[in-house]
Amino acid sequence: MPGPIGAFLAADHARLDGLLARAEAEPGSVAAEPFAAFRAGLLRHIALEEKILFPAAHRARGGAPLPTFRRLRIDHGAIASLLVPAPTPALIAELRSILIPHDGIEEADGGLYDACDALLAAQAEQVLERMRAYPPVRVAPHRDGPRVVRTAAEALRISAQQLAVR
């Protein structure tokens, strides 16, 4: 049975899946309003994990990160960079190629969410309260310059490089 933290974050995945599907309801185009809600929601979801979940799990393990943290952080950086340009169906396909396996790592039996629910069982309600209270993230306008990343492979490569430098 999934724990409360995983259930909360998986329900957020479901909500985001729905927004992205609505953004693509008309083949060949991207509906602005649901995509904007998806983009803001996904960036907030990443913030919940990076600013609340990962640090709490890290502390609960005595400062040792979970083995999947690095991969997930690279994915988060890549996802954020693919949310910079104005969306197209091709860009959404690139995003999905990261999001589907990423969500799988998190939601799998024995995956990140199960691990965090086990580690944070004694403080699950406090973690959930912080997540629920987390404000909407500030979202910058889209940019479409020549240096903007548009493929998952490039976004993942750059994100991995940036994480290695930190």
Binding site: M1, P2, G3, P4, G6, A7, A10, A11, A14, R15, D17, G18, A21, E24, A25, E26, R96, I100, G104, E107, A108, D109, Y113, D114, A121, A124, E125
Partner: protein
């Protein structure tokens, strides 16, 4: 039931369409029918209120996290999305969605009771 949003064909990839289906508590649920790298699956979201959305897989995807449905139920909802409106399909969809909603709410309650 209202809200057929897009012509759906069960052989197509992506979001195949959506319909609104009530449950036995007269709450309306938006059911989206999907097929992608995760197989055949449904996304069920409340039309109003603060119930949590949930997903159900006809291909055993993430069995601990997503609810199980089966190929016949998935096909039924895909056909309903594709229309035309059909009273028998509506009735069957009601039974499927009501069962899924009950299962989702049971899972939430069980998760909550484990925390206590």
């Amino acid at each position: 039931m209202t809200g057929v949003e897009r012509s759906a064909s069960p052989s197509v990839e992506g979001a195949l369409g959506a319909v609104e289906v009530p449950d036995s508590a007269r709450r309306a649920w938006r059911v989206e029918v999907h097929r992608d790298a995760r197989g055949r699956w449904l996304l069920v979201s409340p039309v109003r209120g603060d119930n949590e959305p949930f997903r159900a897989s006809a291909d055993g995807h993430r069995p601990g996290r997503w609810l199980p449905t089966d190929a016949d139920e998935w096909e039924l909802l895909a056909r309903l999305c594709a229309g035309p409106d059909d009273e028998r399909l509506r009735h069957e969809a009601f039974r499927v969605v009501d069962r899924l909603v009950r299962a989702a709410q049971h899972a939430l309650l069980m998760g909550a009771s484990e925390d206590d």
